[in-house]
Symmetry: C2
Amino acid sequence: MAADQLSVTFAALADPTRRAILARVAQGEATVLELAEPFQLKLPTVSKHLKVLRQAGLITQGRQAQWRPCRLEPAPLRDVAEWVERYRKTWEDRMGQLSDYLRELEDKEDTDDREE
Amino acid sequence: MAADQLSVTFAALADPTRRAILARVAQGEATVLELAEPFQLKLPTVSKHLKVLRQAGLITQGRQAQWRPCRLEPAPLRDVAEWVERYRKTWEDRMGQLSDYLRELEDKEDTDDREE
């Protein structure tokens, strides 16, 4: 079975170096050399990460052989945002329950203090 | 190196069956049997997916041996939303550029039509 696009995107994002590369190219185009340097990575390692990001459609690379500037392609990230938004109500409700519970504890403490 | 939390979350989300299980438990607690049925999965397969979701902190499971009801834990999803939000400006700008370009094309066509 061919992996669905969202699974390919999530798999590409499941690596801190690849997320750092995305953060860098979000600031502007960067060559492979410029990407390798701050991470102290060997070029073949960077190339491997760039291939994964390219296959997920998260970056495109220019044609100039030596430089191959990388550019962020944000469309898959918008899809991730849309996917995760459906759970916003769940986490907001859960946080709400937690703060209700903390408030109850506080109220109870205040009452206990007054009763002492 | 221990995988960072966000990488573990993204890896857990990189599978359509696991995302479908999350969508189901977002509707309310579900037993392993209830999760297996709609996906026509064998119980060991469901258990394997649940283990990945549990290790990523995306679900918790009750103790009752046979039922082990699964509950969504939305905190890691909130972290994904926060992570992806930083790219919102990039995709909105890119969509803006695209619609500017399409408007220019339309204007040009209108001009061309009038000149004919």
